[in-house]
């Protein structure tokens, strides 16, 4: 599947972007990249935006808070994932992001 999200590179050429999930039905694709320090910026696209948009955003924010992550941009493309799936994809993306940064 085609990904159009640009990948920022660190000075060492190491990708600073971490992803998890897929664009399959019932899944969510999460991409984390460095953002403005202090806060987090979340961009969400969802096929169930009208029904669950705020609920999905809440789970993403909770996951970031649980892992004490700030200063990132989150790009999420949702294909109808359940909360448990969103949490799992967020956790995987956050771990990969921290690993890439360390």
């Amino acid at each position: 599947m085609a990904q159009t999200i640009p990948t920022p590179e660190s000075s060492l050429g190491k990708p600073l972007r971490a992803t998890a999930g897929s664009l399959e039905s019932n899944d969510i694709f999460i991409a984390l990249a460095p953002g403005e320090p202090g806060g987090n910026e979340i961009t969400l696209e969802s096929i169930v935006m009208k029904q669950f948009g705020p609920a999905i955003l809440r789970v993403i924010e909770e996951s970031l808070a649980e892992h004490d992550l700030t200063g990132v941009t989150v790009t999420a493309q949702d294909k109808g994932a359940l909360d448990c799936t969103i949490r799992a994809r967020m956790e995987a993306a956050i771990r990969r992001y921290k690993e890439a940064r360390s």
């Binding site: 039905s25 019932n26 096929i47 169930v48 009208k50 029904q51 669950f52 948009g53 705020p54 609920a55 294909k79 109808g80 994932a81 359940l82 909360d83």
Partner: protein, 467 residues
């Protein structure tokens, strides 16, 4: 013999007397490979004709140019049984000034016969035509098999144009539409793209949810007491429906049951069951794949039937003899009403087709659907649009359990006795919500973009434009 062959489409339409405000009709056997509807409207637009009513048995993604013809005033209204793709989306967002009239595959021929829906010119995609004007669906590069939905149009329209890419000098051996119903003939380079007309092969689903639903649906048929010699069956072409048919096939072989007829849209799986001797006949109103097209061409037990014979509610039609029908759903509400017109955002994604016809006729109507589809609970408090009234729906089979309409305690008893996982529909609704969460309600405007006419002619619902 007066030559029926016209030099081009514009001449044919002029000869037919096409004028502003007329109703022109199309059948949908070319499905998403159809070239005819677009070609006719292009000619009508070139002639400067306005305000046509499009009476098309279905509208597909390939018909996207229709949007421009509506904006330009060539087409003013649509009367159809099913709509998907860009036209359906544009209509959902208010493209038409007047609401679309949605009918069923049986309601359409009823309306044509009783005259409540008149048609001036039927523009018939005709895979092969001979010089007399006889039409066959089983020959030619655009062969589609059955022409069942074209029959009432051919018999009721004031003027019939057969539009073909295969014109024979010798008389046809087998005829779907006889020459005396055809006024003129037009040749196009191609009336359809075979890849869009029929799918090459429908592969069996491997989706574990669909397979779980299919196993439960097959168990429900076994337990119903209906599976015995003479069993008449219809199924849709969806993954869970076809998988159920495969399990049913195994049950019939094991129990040595010989069924009566198979009905509806026909696929390879049903053709195989006929050839294995599991059924006496196929009554085919529409072929869905190449195997079905080939079969109807060579097997006498595979019979073409008209839309009237299939489902016209003003007669006793094939659906009235069905023992079991398997149908899909976009939503099912707690009163067993079913929606196949709109998605949960209120966007038009289909229409009845034969849904509410088969449901009304069958001794047992089974809806097969996942409990949750992409986080949206399929069991809802109230359907966004009612296609098929709950009083004609007996059973809902999901991967998480089976709900039986309270009007059928006999079936619930049989299912329980067979050890099936029977739950109330409210229980399934609560289960769906506990997994997916409560969806926010989608807001609608008060603008009506579609009216749903039940097969008997009563208006049973309106489709509103989303806010």
């Amino acid at each position: 013999m007066r030559d029926k062959l016209m030099p081009d489409m514009v001449t044919a339409l002029k000869e037919a007397g096409l004028a502003d405000g007329m109703a022109i009709s199309f059948h949908h056997h070319m499905r998403n490979g159809d070239h005819v509807l677009n070609a006719v409207l292009e000619a009508a637009a070139a002639m400067g004709v306005k305000d046509l009513t499009l009476v098309a048995s279905s509208v597909f993604p390939v018909h996207q140019p229709l949007i421009e013809h509506i904006k330009n005033g060539v087409v003013r209204a649509i009367d159809t049984n099913y709509m998907s793709g860009p036209v359906a989306q544009a209509v959902s967002h208010g493209l038409l000034e007047t609401p679309v009239i949605f009918r069923s595959h049986g309601g359409r021929p009823r309306a044509l016969r009783e005259g409540s829906r008149s048609v001036d010119i039927a523009c018939m995609a005709a895979p092969t035509v001979d010089r007399m004007g006889n039409v066959s669906g089983i020959l030619g590069p655009s062969a589609c098999g059955s022409l069942g939905y074209a029959v009432p149009d051919a018999e009721c329209a004031r003027h019939v144009i057969a539009i073909t890419d295969t014109y024979l000098d010798k008389p046809l051996e087998r005829v779907s539409i006889p020459h005396d119903r055809v006024n003129s003939i037009v040749r196009l380079d191609s009336i359809g793209d075979p890849k869009g007309i029929v799918s090459g092969s429908t592969s069996m689903t491997r989706d574990p949810v669909a397979l779980a639903i299919a196993r439960k649906a097959a168990a429900a048929i076994r337990a119903s007491g209906l599976l015995k010699d003479g069993f008449n069956f219809q199924t849709g072409a969806g993954g869970a429906s076809l998988a159920t048919a495969q399990y049913l096939r195994e049950d019939m072989i094991r129990q040595k049951v010989r069924g009566g007829f198979l009905l509806g849209g026909i696929t390879k799986y049903l053709v195989d069951m006929l050839e294995e001797g599991l059924f006496e006949a196929i009554y085919d109103v529409q072929c869905f794949d190449l195997a079905a097209v080939e079969s109807i061409g060579r097997n006498k037990a595979h019979q073409e039937i008209s839309a009237d014979t299939y489902a016209n509610p003003s007669r006793r039609s094939c659906v009235d003899y069905l023992d079991v029908v398997l149908l899909g759903a976009s939503e099912v509400d707690v009163n067993f009403n079913v929606n196949v017109h709109t998605d949960s955002n209120g966007i038009i994604i289909g229409g009845s087709g034969g849904h509410n016809d088969a449901a009304a006729g069958a001794a047992m109507t089974i809806i097969v659907a996942p409990l949750i589809r992409a986080r949206l609970p399929i069991v809802v408090d109230q359907c966004t649009t009612i296609t098929t009234p709950g009083k004609t729906v007996d059973v809902l089979v999901t991967e998480r359990g089976i709900a039986v309409n309270p009007a059928r305690p006999d079936l619930a008893d049989r299912f329980r006795a067979a050890g099936l996982d029977v739950r109330s529909i409210e229980e399934l609704r609560a289960l769906a919500l506990s997994i997916a969460g409560e969806p926010r309600k989608v807001a609608f405007t008060d603008r009506v973009v579609g009216r749903v006419e039940y097969r008997d002619g009563t208006i049973i619902d309106a489709i509103y434009m989303p806010a």
